[in-house]
Symmetry: C2
Subunit: 224 residues, 2 copies
């Protein structure tokens, strides 16, 4: 039962490997991610990947978790406006900008970019779905102040997420070309969804276009 504590791992090497891998993924894409490349830049042998992460999958997994946390940080750093509808737009923009800033990482996180047999577990995906909590709260806020109908907030939040994710992935894939590129499509997409999925039906006298114009006005005030 004697517990011996031999040489322990160096946490600096741990983070260094992940940072090197993240930089490699960001600058040269997924095919540059190899144990030999990473460990060579870290000054160790390939075994380091196995002692620290149990293999390439483990390293990628921790990198993905880091990406989820960074996305979460970007999203939670948003809430500030007095208008919850504008907040939703800001959430979507932050989501998109984070994805555009780390395109390869986003592909691994949500696109399932097959990285040498790496695949996410259900627990990993839960981290991804955690992104939604902020959106759900924002939708609930919109409902509570009477801007959105009292529908299923999780449902509406999912629709926002789906649309934003779809635009981002097509944009990253190079499928959105000018003049209908991501910049041109993003805000109108959000507006359309907020009108169609969230807006209050009680104001029957107001047309769809009136709702759209109102939301567009609020968004443009937040554009700067």
């Amino acid at each position: 039962m004697s517990k011996v504590s031999p040489r322990r791992t160096d946490p600096r090497t741990h983070t260094a490997l992940i940072e090197i891998a993240a930089a490699l993924l960001a600058t040269e894409g997924p095919q540059a991610l190899s144990t030999r490349r990473i460990t060579a830049e870290a000054g160790t042998s390939t075994m380091a990947v196995y002692t620290y992460f149990g293999g390439m999958s483990g390293l990628v997994r921790e990198m993905v978790h880091e990406g989820f946390q960074r996305l979460q940080r970007h999203l939670t750093a948003v809430r500030s406006t007095s208008d919850p509808v504008s907040d939703m737009a800001l959430l979507g923009r932050a989501y998109r900008l984070n994805a555009l800033a780390n395109p390869h990482l986003y592909s691994v996180m949500f696109g399932g970019a097959s990285l040498s047999g790496f695949s996410l577990t259900d627990e990993d995906r839960q981290h991804g779905r955690y992104t939604l909590t902020g959106v759900v709260e924002c939708v609930a806020h919109c409902v509570s102040v009477g801007r959105f109908a009292d529908a299923d907030v999780a449902h509406v939040a999912h629709q926002m997420w789906i649309a934003t994710h779809g635009l981002v992935t097509l944009e990253l894939g190079g499928y959105l070309v000018a003049p209908l590129d991501g910049d041109a499509l993003f805000d109108p997409q959000l507006v359309a969804l907020m009108v169609g999925a969230g807006d209050r039906p009680e104001m029957a006298a107001r047309s769809v276009r009136a709702s759209r114009r109102r939301i567009e006005r609020e968004l443009s005030q937040q554009a700067g």
Copy 2:
């Protein structure tokens, strides 16, 4: 200047290789796609991939083109209803069902699943964007019969595509779990977008909910 025409390639081998690769991709996923695997099942040597396709990328590219053509066929086989709004929903459903039927292929086509350094060219992406022509026509039809506002039809078609693609990719990635899975989210997403992005604003007296209900009714009639 003497042109000699020695032994020609066998077109049956050409298609056999692509079909084997497609079957392999569909049944065992992207990591099962290897020259050795494919050529072994075809009864040839690995060189066949290079004489017929110039390498693995060429084979994947032709496979992707085949996938685009199949998607296009699925979509063009849809138009039949008298109501263009219902047609749009049917288009979206066909798009989604095609993707769910060939998830790995769809990932390669649109997700940019990095298949051993394979990446699409702009010309490949044009084939993907060709998908939109049917949707654009359908939106134009909705406008022509007075169901949609006279907005930019390409813009609206893009929004439909974006939302459908987003739902499909998240669904394929395993991010949509019950009770808010793809089945539950798909039709409402389409309805919301049609209401918010396409519906006519002129009928100012009708509420957003009225528009939604009308579209939902028309979709449910087409559900069978």
